[in-house]
């Protein structure tokens, strides 16, 4: 299967391990990523708050290029990019007036035919393949699947590939990889997103609450599918400790890394070493075939009854 690929700035910057692990796993999933030629930034959280047109035109440029490349759909692994691209597509299709203005600005004949896919949507379609290739199933690894805000909502934009209030696709993917998703409560709460730099205090408050809830549910790691979530939950743990909002170390993994681990891909290839909170504890529990890694049974027992 061929699918367009929009990496977005973060996957080439702060979160390159996301791209590394993504590329590593798709190789095994007969999926070919075709990068959108000369893609540019989607504008993320800044453009749409300063000019609506800019917030639509920047993502539209990328969709237009993908269309010219003949790509029927584009994967945007970053949840924020996904939201911007999908919402641009949605708004343009709802508002012909806007479509006209965007085409004027782009000076392209953009027909808005490209569908935008989130990482969850794409991997959900590959569950059988993931299961089949899980040579190193993550049997005892209890994961808290964190969706954050933009992966599954609002439905008008996502098209409803998953329930916005009670989603299940990330859990399903983790299960296919042999991990054990825990039941927890804050998987849809916002981590503080774009305020990371300008208002660290808010991010610390919101992200710490998420980590605490994951920990209380007995998770060994939090799984994310967004560079921004990753940076807030991983990178900011130090600041959380510093401010007394959180103690402990919670490894935060990209969903693609979880899948990659289950396929037995070398942790280095998956970029596991790039995290701020060490992932060694995770790697230790899953080393080998995952059969008898007897560590951490205490928490395993605690949640065994709750996991789906």
């Amino acid at each position: 299967m061929k699918i367009g690929y929009f990496p977005g700035c973060s996957l080439h910057g702060l979160s390159r391990e996301y791209e590394e692990s993504l590329k590593a796993i798709v190789a095994g999933l007969d999926t070919e990523l075709v990068e959108v030629d000369d893609w540019s930034c989607c504008g993320a959280s800044s453009a749409h708050g300063s000019s609506h047109l800019l917030g639509v035109a920047l993502p539209a440029r990328n969709l237009a290029i993908a269309e010219e490349q003949g790509l029927p759909e584009v994967l945007a692994p970053c949840a924020a990019c996904y939201a911007r691209l999908a919402s641009a597509r949605h708004e343009i299709s709802e508002d012909p007036q806007l479509a006209g203005r965007v085409n004027n600005v782009l000076v392209r004949d953009f027909k808005n035919t490209v569908r935008v896919r989130s990482i969850l949507e794409v991997l959900k379609g590959q569950i059988a393949g993931i299961k089949a290739r899980a040579t190193n199933p993550l049997k005892d690894l209890k994961v808290a699947c964190y969706y954050g805000c933009l992966l599954v909502r609002p439905v008008q934009v996502t098209g409803g590939y998953d329930d916005p209030e009670d989603p299940s696709s990330m859990e399903d993917i983790c299960k296919a990889a042999g991990a054990v998703p825990v039941k927890w409560n804050r998987r849809l709460d916002c981590c503080g997103g774009g305020l990371s730099m300008s208002r660290t205090g808010s991010v610390v408050r919101l992200s710490a609450a998420i980590l605490k809830d994951a920990k209380a549910a007995g998770a060994d790691a939090v799984v994310v599918a967004c560079p921004m979530c990753h940076s807030n939950l991983d990178f900011r743990q130090k600041a959380m400790k510093h401010r007394g909002a959180w103690e402990g170390d919670m490894p935060v993994l990209f969903l693609t890394q979880v899948v990659g681990m289950s396929m037995g891909i070398d942790p280095k290839t998956l970029g596991m070493g790039r995290h701020f909170v060490s992932t060694d504890s995770v790697l230790a529990r899953t080393a080998g075939t995952g059969s008898g890694s007897g560590t951490g049974t205490n928490s395993a027992a605690a949640v065994a009854g709750e996991v789906g």
Binding site: A44, S46, S50, H52, L58, N104, M197, R199
Partner: protein, 190 residues
Amino acid sequence: MGSHEHSHDHSGPEPLAARVQRMTGLNPACCYQCGKCSAGCPMAAETTLRPHDVMRLVARNRLDKLADADGLWLCLTCETCTSRCPNGCDPARTMDALREIFAAGKDGKPPKAISAFHKSFLNQVRNHGRLFEMGLIMSYKLGGGPMFADVTTTPSVLARGKLGLAPHNVKGMDEVRRIFAACAEEEAQP
């Protein structure tokens, strides 16, 4: 700003509610002030204006009150309010429209730290076509962001190979600049 196809033949300034409706295509009068948006808003504890307040002030044309408050600028665009609103009011989109109005500078100003961040961000995109994160941090600090926070962590970020030191421009820079220019021009029209 929003679409300009409607000409307004009445002489007075366009009321805020009408202006927002024109920009968003959503009727602010649909909000029945149930507060479900604010109940779920992650920033409700920190701001003085919660999404339902914003909706009310828009419906009442209170640009003045909106200008004084931090609510708009603390919004995370997490869409929690929008996805739970029973009436499809889309407070997140409404806030975008208001930020756009204020960012234009005529009706009020965003807080310094936040506007500095967005400015720096957009400058990166305008100049390189993509985000050059190192450049973003630099320009943000210089542009008014808190000076020392994060500086201590930067080396560790670099050490993990996460930040590039030199920007890579996209090839279609002309087009990116043209998009910015065209949007600015369209915004500037009365």
